[in-house]
């Protein structure tokens, strides 16, 4: 699974940067074509939902998805053959 922010829905309130326990969301720098500064993802492969959602069969933490007032955050299936990044934390 892959973490994505829907740029069409996001309004740039940065609430996700506050709640993520892994600090995956960083306040963005550049406005997109709608003039909204969408948060950037900092190594989203660290998110437990990306790795373990399919294994457990349920959403694990999901704080960012729940607090997002614009329903912009979701996890999507990766396309077959897509390159996966693996993050190891010490």
């Amino acid at each position: 699974m892959k973490l994505v922010i829907d740029e069409k829905r996001c309004k740039g309130c940065n609430l996700c940067t506050m709640v993520c326990p892994y600090k995956i969301y960083k306040p963005g720098k550049k406005p997109n074509e709608r003039g909204i500064v969408v948060p950037e993802l900092d190594r989203p492969e660290r998110c437990p939902n990306c790795r373990l959602q399919a294994l457990y069969g349920r959403t694990l933490c999901g704080m960012c998805q729940m607090i997002c007032p614009d329903q912009a955050i979701s996890w999507v299936e990766e396309k077959p053959g897509e390159k996966k990044k693996v993050a190891i934390e010490f």
């Binding site: 069409k8 309004k11 940065n14 609430l15 506050m18 729940m66 607090i67 997002c68 007032p69 614009d70």
Partner: protein, 262 residues
């Protein structure tokens, strides 16, 4: 099924301002409705007028967008006509406490089997930031430019006094707890009242030193206190810090209820 299946994807993005907590409360409510295992055909969302009352327009189920303050009156009619339906009422503080105040206390008195989710943003957001009955003391708004001189309504105390079966209060920061509270409310027969404190960065925050949405959510995070801790502090005779928001399940009881699904 997840809560996103309950949203009308073609209507999104919604009209709420950036950082408005109403969207969070919609997420939590839909998540609770989803977890309760309700059918889309057997659930009705009712709302009055205001920012919060735009919510049923983004949900796929049958919904009613009614006159100002009369959401509970319409919901009572739905429930009495067909008790098999699960009725969830979205309402704001101005809708519920000011214009619909009488409907609210009488719905609590009758103890009709509704779930009332009140998004309390402490101001009339949609009409330009007028002071509402829940505007805290000394808070600035367009009608109270020197600070609100009146004490604010405590909606949960009001619901308990009027006789609601389940009363709890959470904020838009406590998403998991809010989901759990709405789920408990859906499962409790009788009127369940869940007050969700939400941030209003455009009209409340801008005038009251919370210019960013994060500032007011941070305030909810730091000033929220569980009701168990508040009661313990009161028993020990200690002082409760000012501006504390009492959170948690404030009442759960078994008064006789009307319109319960059989």
């Amino acid at each position: 099924m997840t809560f996103s299946d309950w949203l009308r994807a073609d209507r999104l993005p919604h009209i709420f301002c950036a950082g408005c907590g109403n969207g969070t409360v919609i997420n939590c409510t839909l998540n609770a409705v989803d977890q309760a295992g309700l059918e889309k055909e057997e659930t009705v969302f009712v709302s009055g007028i205001g920012c919060s009352s735009r919510a049923p327009g983004y949900i796929v189920t049958d919904s009613l967008h009614t006159t100002h303050g009369r959401a509970l009156a319409f919901a009572t009619g739905i429930k009495m006509a067909n008790p098999a339906l699960s009725v969830v009422v979205f309402t704001g503080d101005g809708d519920l406490a000011a214009i619909g105040g009488n409907h609210f206390i009488h719905a609590c008195r009758r103890n009709i089997d509704l779930t009332v989710v009140c998004m309390n943003n402490m101001i009339y957001g949609m009409t330009g930031g007028q002071g509402s009955p829940t505007t805290p003391r000394m808070a600035l708004s367009t009608t109270t430019p020197y600070g609100s001189a009146e004490p604010a309504f405590d909606l949960c105390e009001l619901a308990i006094a009027a006789g609601a079966n389940y009363v709890s209060r959470w904020t838009s920061y406590h998403v998991k707890e809010l989901t759990r509270a709405i789920l408990a409310g859906l499962r409790t027969p009788g009127l369940s009242f869940i007050e969700a404190m939400v941030q209003c960065p455009t009209n409340f925050g801008r005038r009251n030193r919370y210019r960013q949405p994060l500032d007011q959510v941070e305030y909810f995070k730091t000033h929220g206190m569980l009701v168990e801790k508040v009661r313990r502090l009161q028993e020990e005779g200690q002082e409760i810090p000012p501006e504390t928001i009492v959170l948690g399940e404030l009442a759960r009881r078994n008064r006789p209820a009307m319109g319960v699904k059989t």
